[in-house]
Amino acid sequence: MDLSYSDEEKAFREEVRTFLKEKLPKDLSDKVAGSDGDDLTKDDMERWHAILNEQGWLVPNWPKKFGGAEWNAVQRHIFEEEAAAANAPRIVPFGFSMLAPVLQKFGSQEQNDYWLPRMLNGDDWWCQGYSEPGAGSDLASLKTTAVKNEAGTHYVVNGQKTWTTLGQHANMIFCLVRTDKDVKQQEGISFLLIDMDTPGIEVRPIILLDGTHEVNEVWFTDVEVPVENLVGEENKGWTYAKYLLTHERTNIAGVGFSQAGLNTVKRLAKSEMAGGKPLIQNPHFAARVAQVEIDLKAMATTNLRIISKAAAGSAPGVEASMLKVKGTVIRQEINDLARRAVGSYAMPFASEAVEGSNAGLPDPLGAGPVAAKYFNNRKLSIFGGSNEIQRGIIAKVSMQG
């Protein structure tokens, strides 16, 4: 074992740093600082995707034959660390790191040839249509139906999806739909790619508690989807969905975000005064910060251990669940520290979505909307398979074999 970075890895880090310094637009990093980038517009996100794509770094996880960089685990970790430290926007994951691996593993040649380049060029913006009002943790109970028409050319889709993140920006949605009602729940589900401009689709916003619009309801009424848009085999969708979820979960560990968040906490606590001294010198506050920093250090290494293992071939199983739980708990604790750090200035409502603009808000500390972020990030332990569900998986796998 060797925990120090090799010369090659150090050189790679330099390369990433230089790239970020030269190519990351300042207006984007300014937005990301303090808010994790929740107020980025579609245009902002697409701009960053295009810059990364030009560099060949938009999809480091993809194999080379599909246009990916095929970075190893350590390289990905280094990039994540540097990108977060530089306040780079996150890469919107739905197409690049959720759908793409499924297509690459289970999709047809034609599907890969058509959809993957469009994803890279920014022709398509994908969102994820899994959850439904009655099917959250119990995803397999989903009810949205897809029935083949008589000609056998199209599926006709009816039902409702919910919590569709950034669906308002998307022109494509990948959906789990029920194609057979008469078998065990998991065995009647298929994986469909649906063009959101098809007649019969309606997208309605859901406003979250911090005033942001990031999720939506998506309604389907007699929506016709060409059969070519079925991924893999009919009724095998659950297998693909589970494969996708392990990718979703590794992403959720968010080591880089936590590191950046911790830096923000420290910065705020240096300028905020408590009892006549900078807050960072307050033993109580300092102890809390140290505690979470110690947890984060270990988690970063856990993360590296797990992704190296995955890179060596074995798919992360229960480890992905562990990472999801620990990663989200740590990030939420950091969000809590940030809101505490700013004292009374946590109280103003800083949401752009509701107020129209942040102008006029008092922000003597450069705090940004830290309390709004704290509330928004309650989602981390709910989505992508809630932390309770992850704990259930860990227990089941480790105790019942």
Binding site: S131, G134, G136, S137, D138, S141, T162, W163, I206, I207, L208, L209, D210, G211, E272, M273, A274, G275, G276, L279, N282, H284, F285, R288, D336, R339, R340, G343, S344, Y345, A346, M347, P348, F349, A350, V354, E355, G360, L361, P362, P364, A371, A372, Y374, F375, R378, K379, S381, I382, F383, S386, N387, E388, R391, G392
Partner: protein, 377 residues
Amino acid sequence: MNFDLTEERQMLQDTLRRFLRDRYDTATRNTILESDTGMSKEIWAELAELGVIGALFTEEQGGFGGKGFDIAVVFEELGRAGVVEPFLDTAVLGGGLVADLGDESQLALVEEVIGGTSQMAFAHGEPSSRYDLNRVQTTAKTEGDDIVLNGHKAVVVNAEAADHIVVSARESGDRDDEAGISLFLVPADTKGVTVQGYALLAGGRAAEVMLDDVRLPASARLGKAGEAYAAIEARIAAANVAQCAETLGAMETATHLTKDYLMTRKQFGRPIGTFQALAFRMSDLLIEMEQARSAVINAAGHLEGDRKTRESNISATKNLMGRAGRLVAEDSIQLHGGIAMTQEYELAHIAKRIVMADHRFGDTDHHLERFIALAAA
């Protein structure tokens, strides 16, 4: 010992609870939250009529209560319904300070407050004071018969709506001295007062209040020059009783909503409350609720005690409420899943009220340290 409410307080509680259940539903509140003023004049008038404000003042002051338990009863109900109207700022803080220190002509204002026709605010905190009550850098200089105020007051709740703002300022001493701080009753339209308002995350509005050569007659001073600290501390204690009781009420609503949801929401073919992982967490919330109720009783029951008893109970309570409140708010959201994250659902608002209460009058950490310091003193 007797833990029952007096008959009068019980009646007040019943009346208030019924009124708010009928008149302050989620849809009404959401409309109020989205309005420019962040409050409803009609609701204010009706609640004043019901005696909500009168209950916060003693008989000598023109009310019919004013004790810790009166404050607790009122605010628990306001918290239960998630009321965003600034009763705490107008009555307990602004009106309360005038009632405590005002001379005869100033006391006329208390009557208006009780009648529901006047709005007030207390401008005390400053950008670098955090939760320390003694750190006042705003200055009050005597010039002939006048007093001139200069400074910046931070996150002053209800400043925009207030007709009068009680402003603290230093007449002598160093930045962190308790001695030397005075209070002034400032009409909001006084020249040199700038109010830069904004909405609050948990509802209502606040403002940065800039004092730029604000010239007042000496008669604007409340009480004696440089001796306001004790009154401020006592009023903040009352405000903490109000804030903690409000949080208790909000926590009760959060736990009720969660309990109901656990019994109705089905996943995997059964109510999610039948999963032990969730049932046990619900039990923990219920245990913490009992702790929170006791803590509020401790604070309310010692509000009229000597300073050290009062303050150590206040700090103990505020610390516990911060911890229990965070647990209840976070777990209520978690146990609900996605639905609790939506602005429209009542819990979202309630959870924000609970957590944001930690940012007024000192958070969990601040009061932990204060509790230790008071014990050592």
